[in-house]
Protein backbone atom coordinates (compact mmCIF):
# COMPACT_ATOMS: atom_id res chain seq x y z
CA UNK A 1 0.00 0.00 0.00
CA UNK A 2 1.03 3.63 -0.08
CA UNK A 3 3.80 4.40 2.28
CA UNK A 4 3.27 6.58 5.30
CA UNK A 5 4.35 9.87 3.78
CA UNK A 6 2.08 9.48 0.80
CA UNK A 7 -0.78 8.61 3.14
CA UNK A 8 -0.18 11.67 5.25
CA UNK A 9 0.03 13.87 2.18
CA UNK A 10 -3.22 12.44 0.85
CA UNK A 11 -4.89 13.05 4.19
CA UNK A 12 -3.67 16.63 4.29
CA UNK A 13 -4.85 17.21 0.74
CA UNK A 14 -8.30 15.82 1.44
CA UNK A 15 -8.58 17.88 4.60
CA UNK A 16 -7.58 21.07 2.83
CA UNK A 17 -10.06 20.42 0.04
CA UNK A 18 -12.84 19.87 2.58
CA UNK A 19 -12.01 23.07 4.44
CA UNK A 20 -11.68 25.07 1.24
CA UNK A 21 -14.99 24.00 -0.20
CA UNK A 22 -16.80 24.42 3.09
CA UNK A 23 -15.68 28.00 3.45
CA UNK A 24 -15.49 29.09 -0.19
CA UNK A 25 -19.00 30.51 -0.68
CA UNK A 26 -18.89 32.31 2.64
CA UNK A 27 -15.48 33.80 2.04
CA UNK A 28 -16.39 34.80 -1.49
CA UNK A 29 -19.45 36.66 -0.28
CA UNK A 30 -17.45 38.28 2.46
CA UNK A 31 -14.90 39.49 -0.06
CA UNK A 32 -17.65 40.68 -2.37
CA UNK A 33 -19.25 42.73 0.39
CA UNK A 34 -16.07 44.75 0.69
CA UNK A 35 -15.82 45.56 -2.98
CA UNK A 36 -16.90 48.56 -4.96
CA UNK A 37 -19.69 48.30 -7.53
CA UNK A 38 -17.21 47.94 -10.34
CA UNK A 39 -15.21 45.24 -8.65
CA UNK A 40 -18.26 43.05 -8.15
CA UNK A 41 -18.92 42.67 -11.85
CA UNK A 42 -15.35 42.51 -13.02
CA UNK A 43 -14.02 39.66 -15.07
CA UNK A 44 -11.67 38.11 -14.11
CA UNK A 45 -13.12 38.34 -10.60
CA UNK A 46 -11.31 40.60 -8.17
CA UNK A 47 -9.79 38.42 -5.50
CA UNK A 48 -8.67 41.14 -3.17
CA UNK A 49 -11.34 43.72 -2.46
CA UNK A 50 -10.65 47.36 -1.93
CA UNK A 51 -12.19 47.17 1.52
CA UNK A 52 -14.96 49.58 0.68
CA UNK A 53 -17.90 49.67 3.05
CA UNK A 54 -20.24 51.13 0.49
CA UNK A 55 -22.44 48.11 0.27
CA UNK A 56 -22.92 48.03 3.99
CA UNK A 57 -23.84 51.67 3.97
CA UNK A 58 -26.36 51.34 1.17
CA UNK A 59 -27.64 48.16 2.71
CA UNK A 60 -28.45 50.01 5.90
CA UNK A 61 -29.71 53.18 4.27
CA UNK A 62 -31.59 51.87 1.29
CA UNK A 63 -32.50 48.36 2.25
CA UNK A 64 -33.28 48.67 5.94
CA UNK A 65 -30.64 46.14 6.94
CA UNK A 66 -30.51 47.08 10.62
CA UNK A 67 -34.23 46.67 10.90
CA UNK A 68 -33.99 43.08 9.79
CA UNK A 69 -31.17 42.52 12.22
CA UNK A 70 -33.18 43.94 15.07
CA UNK A 71 -36.17 41.75 14.28
CA UNK A 72 -34.04 38.64 14.00
CA UNK A 73 -32.33 39.30 17.31
CA UNK A 74 -35.59 39.88 19.14
CA UNK A 75 -37.35 36.88 17.67
CA UNK A 76 -34.48 34.41 17.90
CA UNK A 77 -33.59 35.64 21.36
CA UNK A 78 -37.09 35.42 22.80
CA UNK A 79 -37.72 32.06 21.17
CA UNK A 80 -34.55 30.67 22.72
CA UNK A 81 -35.47 31.84 26.19
CA UNK A 82 -39.06 30.63 26.06
CA UNK A 83 -38.22 27.28 24.49
CA UNK A 84 -35.42 26.72 27.01
CA UNK A 85 -37.68 27.26 29.99
CA UNK A 86 -40.37 24.95 28.68
CA UNK A 87 -37.83 22.37 27.53
CA UNK A 88 -36.08 22.32 30.90
CA UNK A 89 -39.32 21.46 32.62
CA UNK A 90 -40.27 18.83 30.10
CA UNK A 91 -36.73 17.45 29.83
CA UNK A 92 -36.51 17.07 33.60
CA UNK A 93 -39.86 15.32 33.79
CA UNK A 94 -39.00 12.94 30.99
CA UNK A 95 -35.50 12.17 32.18
CA UNK A 96 -35.94 11.84 35.91
CA UNK A 97 -39.49 11.41 37.02
CA UNK A 98 -41.51 8.25 36.90
CA UNK A 99 -44.06 8.82 34.22
CA UNK A 100 -46.06 6.52 32.03
CA UNK A 101 -45.55 6.58 28.28
CA UNK A 102 -42.23 8.36 28.38
CA UNK A 103 -41.00 6.64 25.25
CA UNK A 104 -44.19 7.46 23.43
CA UNK A 105 -43.95 11.14 24.33
CA UNK A 106 -40.34 11.44 23.24
CA UNK A 107 -41.05 9.49 20.10
CA UNK A 108 -44.01 11.60 19.15
CA UNK A 109 -41.97 14.76 19.70
CA UNK A 110 -39.51 13.39 17.21
CA UNK A 111 -42.27 12.55 14.74
CA UNK A 112 -43.85 15.99 15.08
CA UNK A 113 -40.52 17.63 14.33
CA UNK A 114 -40.50 15.86 11.00
CA UNK A 115 -43.80 17.27 9.80
CA UNK A 116 -43.31 19.14 6.54
CA UNK A 117 -43.81 22.83 7.17
CA UNK A 118 -46.35 23.15 4.38
CA UNK A 119 -48.62 20.65 6.09
CA UNK A 120 -49.15 22.93 9.03
CA UNK A 121 -48.50 26.29 7.41
CA UNK A 122 -51.96 27.01 6.15
CA UNK A 123 -53.84 26.35 9.41
CA UNK A 124 -51.14 28.04 11.49
CA UNK A 125 -51.48 31.06 9.26
CA UNK A 126 -55.22 30.98 9.72
CA UNK A 127 -54.95 30.71 13.50
CA UNK A 128 -52.61 33.68 13.62
CA UNK A 129 -54.79 35.66 11.26
CA UNK A 130 -57.84 35.19 13.42
CA UNK A 131 -55.85 36.27 16.47
CA UNK A 132 -54.61 39.31 14.60
CA UNK A 133 -51.07 38.16 15.18
CA UNK A 134 -49.79 38.13 11.63
CA UNK A 135 -46.96 40.60 11.37
CA UNK A 136 -46.25 40.63 15.07
CA UNK A 137 -43.41 39.26 17.11
CA UNK A 138 -45.54 36.77 18.99
CA UNK A 139 -46.98 35.53 15.72
CA UNK A 140 -43.62 34.13 14.73
CA UNK A 141 -42.27 33.32 18.16
CA UNK A 142 -45.08 30.94 19.03
CA UNK A 143 -44.61 28.67 15.99
CA UNK A 144 -40.85 28.90 16.48
CA UNK A 145 -41.15 27.69 20.04
CA UNK A 146 -43.21 24.77 18.77
CA UNK A 147 -40.64 23.98 16.09
CA UNK A 148 -37.66 24.11 18.42
CA UNK A 149 -39.21 22.30 21.39
CA UNK A 150 -38.48 18.75 20.14
CA UNK A 151 -34.82 19.63 19.63
CA UNK A 152 -34.58 21.36 22.98
CA UNK A 153 -36.38 18.66 24.93
CA UNK A 154 -34.35 15.83 23.40
CA UNK A 155 -30.99 17.47 24.10
CA UNK A 156 -31.83 18.63 27.62
CA UNK A 157 -33.47 15.34 28.55
CA UNK A 158 -30.41 13.41 27.45
CA UNK A 159 -28.15 15.62 29.59
CA UNK A 160 -30.41 15.26 32.61
CA UNK A 161 -30.40 11.51 32.16
CA UNK A 162 -26.63 11.42 32.54
CA UNK A 163 -26.72 12.71 36.09
CA UNK A 164 -26.49 10.01 38.80
CA UNK A 165 -29.76 8.96 40.43
CA UNK A 166 -28.25 9.24 43.87
CA UNK A 167 -27.93 13.01 43.60
CA UNK A 168 -31.67 13.36 43.52
CA UNK A 169 -32.06 10.99 46.45
CA UNK A 170 -29.55 13.00 48.43
CA UNK A 171 -31.36 16.22 47.59
CA UNK A 172 -34.73 14.79 48.62
CA UNK A 173 -33.29 13.60 51.92
CA UNK A 174 -31.65 16.96 52.48
CA UNK A 175 -35.11 18.42 52.31
CA UNK A 176 -35.67 19.49 48.73
CA UNK A 177 -38.99 19.24 47.04
CA UNK A 178 -39.14 18.43 43.34
CA UNK A 179 -38.79 22.01 42.11
CA UNK A 180 -35.94 22.77 44.47
CA UNK A 181 -34.13 19.64 43.36
CA UNK A 182 -34.52 20.81 39.78
CA UNK A 183 -33.29 24.35 40.34
CA UNK A 184 -30.57 23.84 42.93
CA UNK A 185 -29.06 20.55 41.87
CA UNK A 186 -30.10 19.31 38.45
CA UNK A 187 -29.99 22.53 36.46
CA UNK A 188 -26.54 23.70 37.56
CA UNK A 189 -25.16 20.26 36.75
CA UNK A 190 -26.87 20.08 33.36
CA UNK A 191 -25.83 23.64 32.52
CA UNK A 192 -23.51 22.62 29.67
CA UNK A 193 -26.32 20.75 27.98
CA UNK A 194 -28.75 23.59 28.52
CA UNK A 195 -26.29 26.03 27.05
CA UNK A 196 -25.78 23.80 24.02
CA UNK A 197 -29.51 23.55 23.53
CA UNK A 198 -29.73 27.34 23.70
CA UNK A 199 -27.14 27.71 20.95
CA UNK A 200 -28.87 25.23 18.68
CA UNK A 201 -32.28 26.76 19.26
CA UNK A 202 -30.94 30.23 18.57
CA UNK A 203 -29.29 29.11 15.32
CA UNK A 204 -32.47 27.41 14.18
CA UNK A 205 -34.68 30.41 14.90
CA UNK A 206 -32.22 32.82 13.35
CA UNK A 207 -32.08 30.80 10.13
CA UNK A 208 -35.73 29.85 9.73
CA UNK A 209 -37.31 31.07 6.52
CA UNK A 210 -40.55 29.34 5.62
CA UNK A 211 -42.74 30.60 8.44
CA UNK A 212 -40.99 33.95 8.54
CA UNK A 213 -41.86 34.40 4.90
CA UNK A 214 -45.51 33.55 5.42
CA UNK A 215 -46.24 35.31 8.65
CA UNK A 216 -44.22 38.49 8.26
CA UNK A 217 -45.35 40.22 5.11
CA UNK A 218 -44.66 43.74 6.29
CA UNK A 219 -41.14 45.02 5.92
CA UNK A 220 -41.17 46.32 9.49
CA UNK A 221 -41.36 42.87 10.97
CA UNK A 222 -39.36 40.79 8.57
CA UNK A 223 -36.33 38.89 9.71
CA UNK A 224 -32.92 38.71 8.06
CA UNK A 225 -33.53 35.53 6.07
CA UNK A 226 -36.67 37.01 4.55
CA UNK A 227 -34.94 40.29 3.84
CA UNK A 228 -32.05 38.56 2.15
CA UNK A 229 -34.23 36.24 0.11
CA UNK A 230 -36.46 39.02 -1.18
CA UNK A 231 -33.76 41.48 -2.11
CA UNK A 232 -34.93 43.30 -5.22
CA UNK A 233 -32.86 45.66 -7.25
CA UNK A 234 -33.99 48.11 -9.86
CA UNK A 235 -32.58 46.32 -12.85
CA UNK A 236 -30.34 43.59 -11.56
CA UNK A 237 -29.90 41.99 -8.21
CA UNK A 238 -27.93 44.17 -5.85
CA UNK A 239 -25.31 41.50 -5.21
CA UNK A 240 -23.08 43.79 -3.23
CA UNK A 241 -25.80 44.61 -0.75
CA UNK A 242 -26.92 41.00 -0.65
CA UNK A 243 -23.37 40.02 0.16
CA UNK A 244 -23.17 42.65 2.87
CA UNK A 245 -26.48 41.57 4.38
CA UNK A 246 -25.44 37.94 4.22
CA UNK A 247 -22.18 38.68 5.95
CA UNK A 248 -23.98 40.46 8.75
CA UNK A 249 -26.40 37.56 8.99
CA UNK A 250 -23.74 34.93 9.12
CA UNK A 251 -20.79 36.41 10.98
CA UNK A 252 -22.40 35.92 14.42
CA UNK A 253 -23.20 32.33 13.51
CA UNK A 254 -19.71 31.62 12.22
CA UNK A 255 -18.30 33.05 15.45
CA UNK A 256 -20.67 30.88 17.48
CA UNK A 257 -19.58 27.84 15.54
CA UNK A 258 -15.88 28.50 15.91
CA UNK A 259 -16.11 29.15 19.64
CA UNK A 260 -18.60 26.46 20.57
CA UNK A 261 -17.97 23.73 18.01
CA UNK A 262 -17.40 21.07 20.62
CA UNK A 263 -20.66 21.80 22.36
CA UNK A 264 -22.61 22.02 19.13
CA UNK A 265 -21.29 18.68 18.01
CA UNK A 266 -22.08 16.96 21.27
CA UNK A 267 -25.54 18.49 21.31
CA UNK A 268 -26.41 17.35 17.83
CA UNK A 269 -25.12 13.86 18.36
CA UNK A 270 -26.76 13.60 21.78
CA UNK A 271 -30.10 13.25 20.11
CA UNK A 272 -28.89 10.72 17.61
CA UNK A 273 -26.70 8.42 19.64
CA UNK A 274 -28.48 8.46 22.93
CA UNK A 275 -31.87 8.34 21.31
Amino acid sequence: MLNKIAQKFLFLLVTLIIVFFSLLPFIWFFITSLKTEVEVTSIPPTLIPSGSLNFYRSGIEQYDLLHFVKNSIIIAGLTSIITLVIAIFAGYALARLRLPFKRVILGSLLVVSMFPQISIAGPVWRILQSLGWLNSYQGLILPYVTLTLPLGVWIIASFFKELPDELEDAARIDGCGHLQTLFRIMMPLAAPGIFTAAILIFIYSWNEFFFALLIMTQRDYQTLPVGIALFQGQYTLPWGEIAAASTIATVPLVLLVFIFQKRIMSGLSAGAVKG
Partner: protein, 299 residues
Protein backbone atom coordinates in the same frame (compact mmCIF):
# COMPACT_ATOMS: atom_id res chain seq x y z
CA UNK B 1 -56.79 14.54 49.18
CA UNK B 2 -53.52 13.16 50.34
CA UNK B 3 -51.53 11.76 47.46
CA UNK B 4 -48.95 9.07 47.86
CA UNK B 5 -45.34 9.88 47.03
CA UNK B 6 -45.62 8.21 43.69
CA UNK B 7 -48.82 9.96 42.76
CA UNK B 8 -47.35 13.29 43.74
CA UNK B 9 -44.37 12.66 41.53
CA UNK B 10 -46.60 11.71 38.65
CA UNK B 11 -48.77 14.77 39.01
CA UNK B 12 -45.73 17.01 39.19
CA UNK B 13 -44.26 15.37 36.11
CA UNK B 14 -47.43 15.81 34.13
CA UNK B 15 -47.61 19.48 35.05
CA UNK B 16 -44.09 19.97 33.78
CA UNK B 17 -44.98 18.48 30.44
CA UNK B 18 -48.17 20.40 29.89
CA UNK B 19 -46.62 23.53 28.31
CA UNK B 20 -44.78 21.41 25.76
CA UNK B 21 -47.90 19.46 25.06
CA UNK B 22 -49.95 22.63 24.62
CA UNK B 23 -47.57 24.13 22.09
CA UNK B 24 -47.31 20.95 20.10
CA UNK B 25 -51.04 20.33 20.20
CA UNK B 26 -52.00 23.83 19.09
CA UNK B 27 -49.31 24.51 16.52
CA UNK B 28 -48.59 21.05 15.15
CA UNK B 29 -51.27 18.47 15.80
CA UNK B 30 -54.28 20.68 15.34
CA UNK B 31 -52.94 22.22 12.11
CA UNK B 32 -52.33 18.80 10.59
CA UNK B 33 -55.84 17.74 11.34
CA UNK B 34 -57.15 21.06 10.11
CA UNK B 35 -55.19 20.64 6.88
CA UNK B 36 -56.96 17.38 6.31
CA UNK B 37 -60.22 19.17 6.88
CA UNK B 38 -59.34 22.02 4.54
CA UNK B 39 -58.35 19.61 1.79
CA UNK B 40 -61.96 18.61 1.45
CA UNK B 41 -63.07 22.16 0.79
CA UNK B 42 -62.73 24.77 -1.87
CA UNK B 43 -61.37 27.95 -0.36
CA UNK B 44 -59.89 30.92 -2.14
CA UNK B 45 -58.16 33.47 0.03
CA UNK B 46 -58.94 36.93 -1.13
CA UNK B 47 -62.40 35.93 -2.23
CA UNK B 48 -64.02 35.40 1.17
CA UNK B 49 -67.38 35.82 -0.39
CA UNK B 50 -67.12 32.34 -1.88
CA UNK B 51 -67.06 30.88 1.59
CA UNK B 52 -65.90 27.35 2.32
CA UNK B 53 -67.53 24.96 -0.03
CA UNK B 54 -67.30 21.29 0.85
CA UNK B 55 -66.16 19.40 -2.21
CA UNK B 56 -65.39 15.96 -0.86
CA UNK B 57 -62.56 14.25 -2.70
CA UNK B 58 -62.69 16.57 -5.70
CA UNK B 59 -59.41 18.21 -4.73
CA UNK B 60 -57.72 14.84 -4.57
CA UNK B 61 -59.04 13.88 -7.97
CA UNK B 62 -57.77 17.17 -9.36
CA UNK B 63 -54.44 16.45 -7.75
CA UNK B 64 -54.18 13.17 -9.60
CA UNK B 65 -54.68 14.91 -12.88
CA UNK B 66 -52.38 17.77 -12.02
CA UNK B 67 -49.33 17.25 -14.20
CA UNK B 68 -47.30 19.84 -12.41
CA UNK B 69 -48.02 18.27 -9.04
CA UNK B 70 -46.92 14.86 -10.23
CA UNK B 71 -43.88 16.39 -11.82
CA UNK B 72 -42.98 18.14 -8.60
CA UNK B 73 -43.33 14.90 -6.70
CA UNK B 74 -41.07 13.26 -9.22
CA UNK B 75 -38.55 16.08 -8.86
CA UNK B 76 -38.71 15.86 -5.11
CA UNK B 77 -38.11 12.13 -4.98
CA UNK B 78 -35.19 12.26 -7.39
CA UNK B 79 -33.72 15.14 -5.45
CA UNK B 80 -34.09 13.27 -2.18
CA UNK B 81 -32.47 10.17 -3.57
CA UNK B 82 -29.49 11.82 -5.20
CA UNK B 83 -28.69 14.42 -2.61
CA UNK B 84 -29.13 12.07 0.35
CA UNK B 85 -26.81 9.48 -1.18
CA UNK B 86 -24.18 12.12 -1.85
CA UNK B 87 -24.54 13.57 1.63
CA UNK B 88 -24.15 10.22 3.34
CA UNK B 89 -21.04 9.36 1.36
CA UNK B 90 -19.49 12.80 1.79
CA UNK B 91 -20.59 12.84 5.40
CA UNK B 92 -18.81 9.56 6.01
CA UNK B 93 -15.67 10.92 4.40
CA UNK B 94 -15.75 14.11 6.44
CA UNK B 95 -16.48 12.17 9.61
CA UNK B 96 -13.53 9.89 8.99
CA UNK B 97 -11.27 12.91 8.56
CA UNK B 98 -12.49 14.72 11.67
CA UNK B 99 -12.27 11.50 13.66
CA UNK B 100 -8.49 11.48 13.32
CA UNK B 101 -6.49 13.30 15.93
CA UNK B 102 -4.39 16.02 14.37
CA UNK B 103 -3.40 19.56 15.07
CA UNK B 104 -5.90 22.03 13.79
CA UNK B 105 -8.70 19.52 14.07
CA UNK B 106 -10.81 22.19 15.74
CA UNK B 107 -10.42 24.53 12.79
CA UNK B 108 -11.46 21.81 10.36
CA UNK B 109 -14.44 20.94 12.53
CA UNK B 110 -15.56 24.55 12.73
CA UNK B 111 -15.05 25.09 9.01
CA UNK B 112 -17.17 22.08 8.24
CA UNK B 113 -19.92 23.35 10.53
CA UNK B 114 -20.14 26.73 8.82
CA UNK B 115 -22.33 25.52 5.92
CA UNK B 116 -24.70 23.97 8.44
CA UNK B 117 -24.84 27.05 10.60
CA UNK B 118 -25.73 29.71 8.04
CA UNK B 119 -29.30 30.34 6.95
CA UNK B 120 -30.28 28.28 3.96
CA UNK B 121 -31.51 31.36 2.10
CA UNK B 122 -28.12 32.97 2.55
CA UNK B 123 -26.45 29.83 1.26
CA UNK B 124 -28.89 29.94 -1.65
CA UNK B 125 -27.88 33.49 -2.51
CA UNK B 126 -24.23 32.56 -2.21
CA UNK B 127 -24.58 29.74 -4.69
CA UNK B 128 -26.80 31.80 -6.92
CA UNK B 129 -24.02 34.32 -7.10
CA UNK B 130 -21.46 31.63 -7.75
CA UNK B 131 -23.58 30.25 -10.59
CA UNK B 132 -24.26 33.72 -11.99
CA UNK B 133 -24.17 33.83 -15.79
CA UNK B 134 -22.25 37.09 -15.99
CA UNK B 135 -19.76 37.17 -13.19
CA UNK B 136 -20.11 33.93 -11.26
CA UNK B 137 -17.01 32.20 -10.04
CA UNK B 138 -18.06 28.90 -11.50
CA UNK B 139 -18.23 30.23 -15.01
CA UNK B 140 -14.82 31.74 -14.46
CA UNK B 141 -13.48 28.44 -13.14
CA UNK B 142 -14.65 26.61 -16.27
CA UNK B 143 -14.18 29.19 -19.00
CA UNK B 144 -11.75 31.76 -17.65
CA UNK B 145 -12.26 35.18 -19.10
CA UNK B 146 -14.05 33.86 -22.16
CA UNK B 147 -17.38 35.53 -21.49
CA UNK B 148 -19.06 34.29 -24.59
CA UNK B 149 -18.93 30.74 -23.37
CA UNK B 150 -20.41 31.51 -20.00
CA UNK B 151 -23.49 29.48 -19.27
CA UNK B 152 -26.64 30.62 -17.55
CA UNK B 153 -26.63 27.61 -15.30
CA UNK B 154 -29.82 28.41 -13.50
CA UNK B 155 -31.70 29.01 -16.72
CA UNK B 156 -31.12 25.48 -17.93
CA UNK B 157 -33.58 22.90 -16.51
CA UNK B 158 -30.98 20.20 -16.09
CA UNK B 159 -28.21 22.37 -14.66
CA UNK B 160 -30.60 24.23 -12.43
CA UNK B 161 -31.58 20.94 -10.86
CA UNK B 162 -27.95 19.97 -10.48
CA UNK B 163 -27.19 23.34 -8.92
CA UNK B 164 -29.87 22.80 -6.31
CA UNK B 165 -28.52 19.36 -5.49
CA UNK B 166 -25.00 20.74 -5.32
CA UNK B 167 -26.00 23.54 -2.97
CA UNK B 168 -27.95 21.16 -0.73
CA UNK B 169 -25.10 18.68 -0.54
CA UNK B 170 -22.73 21.52 0.34
CA UNK B 171 -25.06 22.75 3.04
CA UNK B 172 -25.93 19.56 4.82
CA UNK B 173 -23.11 17.06 4.37
CA UNK B 174 -21.60 18.38 7.58
CA UNK B 175 -24.77 17.57 9.50
CA UNK B 176 -24.65 14.01 8.20
CA UNK B 177 -20.96 14.00 9.09
CA UNK B 178 -21.74 14.91 12.69
CA UNK B 179 -24.23 12.13 13.13
CA UNK B 180 -21.87 9.62 11.56
CA UNK B 181 -18.99 10.93 13.66
CA UNK B 182 -20.95 10.18 16.79
CA UNK B 183 -21.22 6.61 15.59
CA UNK B 184 -17.52 6.43 14.75
CA UNK B 185 -16.61 7.56 18.22
CA UNK B 186 -18.35 4.58 19.77
CA UNK B 187 -16.08 2.08 18.02
CA UNK B 188 -13.43 0.99 20.52
CA UNK B 189 -9.85 1.61 19.48
CA UNK B 190 -8.81 -1.87 20.59
CA UNK B 191 -10.71 -3.42 17.71
CA UNK B 192 -8.48 -1.67 15.20
CA UNK B 193 -5.36 -2.57 17.11
CA UNK B 194 -6.36 -6.20 17.29
CA UNK B 195 -7.12 -6.22 13.58
CA UNK B 196 -3.77 -4.66 12.82
CA UNK B 197 -2.05 -7.38 14.79
CA UNK B 198 -4.07 -9.92 12.89
CA UNK B 199 -2.62 -8.48 9.70
CA UNK B 200 -5.58 -6.58 8.30
CA UNK B 201 -4.79 -3.76 5.87
CA UNK B 202 -6.24 -0.27 6.22
CA UNK B 203 -8.91 -0.94 3.65
CA UNK B 204 -9.81 -4.27 5.28
CA UNK B 205 -10.05 -2.62 8.66
CA UNK B 206 -12.39 -0.08 7.12
CA UNK B 207 -14.67 -2.57 5.44
CA UNK B 208 -14.73 -5.14 8.21
CA UNK B 209 -14.74 -3.02 11.33
CA UNK B 210 -15.67 0.57 10.58
CA UNK B 211 -18.47 0.08 8.10
CA UNK B 212 -20.45 -2.58 9.98
CA UNK B 213 -20.17 -0.77 13.32
CA UNK B 214 -21.02 2.62 11.92
CA UNK B 215 -24.09 1.30 10.15
CA UNK B 216 -26.58 2.38 12.86
CA UNK B 217 -25.26 5.95 12.71
CA UNK B 218 -25.40 5.85 8.91
CA UNK B 219 -29.00 4.77 9.03
CA UNK B 220 -29.94 7.47 11.49
CA UNK B 221 -28.21 10.07 9.33
CA UNK B 222 -30.08 8.67 6.35
CA UNK B 223 -33.38 8.98 8.16
CA UNK B 224 -32.84 12.56 9.26
CA UNK B 225 -31.52 13.68 5.90
CA UNK B 226 -34.33 12.03 3.98
CA UNK B 227 -36.95 13.69 6.14
CA UNK B 228 -35.27 17.04 5.68
CA UNK B 229 -34.72 16.61 1.95
CA UNK B 230 -38.40 15.91 1.42
CA UNK B 231 -39.08 19.34 2.86
CA UNK B 232 -36.74 21.31 0.63
CA UNK B 233 -37.98 24.82 0.05
CA UNK B 234 -35.52 27.61 0.80
CA UNK B 235 -33.05 26.66 -1.92
CA UNK B 236 -35.74 26.45 -4.57
CA UNK B 237 -37.40 29.69 -3.49
CA UNK B 238 -34.25 31.73 -3.74
CA UNK B 239 -32.32 30.06 -6.51
CA UNK B 240 -34.91 29.10 -9.09
CA UNK B 241 -38.45 29.78 -7.86
CA UNK B 242 -39.31 26.31 -9.14
CA UNK B 243 -38.15 27.04 -12.65
CA UNK B 244 -37.08 27.07 -15.32
CA UNK B 245 -40.22 25.45 -16.64
CA UNK B 246 -41.01 23.70 -13.41
CA UNK B 247 -37.81 21.70 -13.66
CA UNK B 248 -37.00 22.40 -10.04
CA UNK B 249 -40.52 22.56 -8.76
CA UNK B 250 -40.70 20.55 -5.57
CA UNK B 251 -43.65 19.54 -3.43
CA UNK B 252 -43.34 22.06 -0.64
CA UNK B 253 -42.73 24.89 -3.05
CA UNK B 254 -45.69 23.91 -5.17
CA UNK B 255 -47.89 23.74 -2.09
CA UNK B 256 -46.62 27.13 -0.99
CA UNK B 257 -47.45 28.62 -4.35
CA UNK B 258 -50.94 27.23 -4.34
CA UNK B 259 -51.84 28.37 -0.86
CA UNK B 260 -50.00 31.64 -0.49
CA UNK B 261 -49.29 32.89 -3.94
CA UNK B 262 -52.53 31.81 -5.56
CA UNK B 263 -54.63 31.71 -2.42
CA UNK B 264 -56.10 28.29 -3.11
CA UNK B 265 -56.16 27.12 0.45
CA UNK B 266 -58.34 24.10 -0.20
CA UNK B 267 -56.34 22.66 -3.05
CA UNK B 268 -53.08 23.73 -1.47
CA UNK B 269 -54.06 21.85 1.65
CA UNK B 270 -54.61 18.79 -0.46
CA UNK B 271 -51.03 19.05 -1.60
CA UNK B 272 -49.84 19.59 1.94
CA UNK B 273 -51.74 16.53 3.12
CA UNK B 274 -50.19 14.60 0.28
CA UNK B 275 -46.70 15.70 1.30
CA UNK B 276 -47.47 14.80 4.90
CA UNK B 277 -48.60 11.32 3.94
CA UNK B 278 -45.56 10.67 1.81
CA UNK B 279 -43.32 11.80 4.67
CA UNK B 280 -45.23 9.65 7.12
CA UNK B 281 -45.05 6.55 4.96
CA UNK B 282 -41.36 6.94 4.28
CA UNK B 283 -40.59 7.59 7.94
CA UNK B 284 -42.58 4.56 9.10
CA UNK B 285 -40.82 2.48 6.50
CA UNK B 286 -37.47 3.78 7.66
CA UNK B 287 -38.13 3.34 11.35
CA UNK B 288 -39.25 -0.19 10.73
CA UNK B 289 -36.18 -0.94 8.61
CA UNK B 290 -33.77 0.83 10.93
CA UNK B 291 -35.42 -0.46 14.06
CA UNK B 292 -34.96 -4.05 13.06
CA UNK B 293 -31.46 -3.36 11.79
CA UNK B 294 -30.44 -1.69 15.03
CA UNK B 295 -31.77 -4.61 17.02
CA UNK B 296 -29.96 -7.02 14.71
CA UNK B 297 -26.71 -5.18 15.18
CA UNK B 298 -27.06 -5.21 18.93
CA UNK B 299 -27.43 -8.97 18.91
Amino acid sequence: MILSLQERERAFGLILIIPTFLFVAIFSLYPIIYSFYLSFHRIILGLPGLGQKFVGFQNYIDLFHDRIALHSMFNTLIFVFISTSCEIILGLLIALVIHQKFKGRGVVRAAVLVPWAIPTVVASQMWRFLFNDKYGLINFAFFGSDINHYRAWLADPFFAFCAIIFADVWKTSSFAALLILAGLQTIPDELYKAAKIDGASGWQRFTHITLPLVKPALLIALLFRTMDALRIFDLVFVMTQGGPADSTNVLQFYGYKKIFAEGLMGYGSTISVFVFLITLIISIFYIKAIGSRLIEDKI
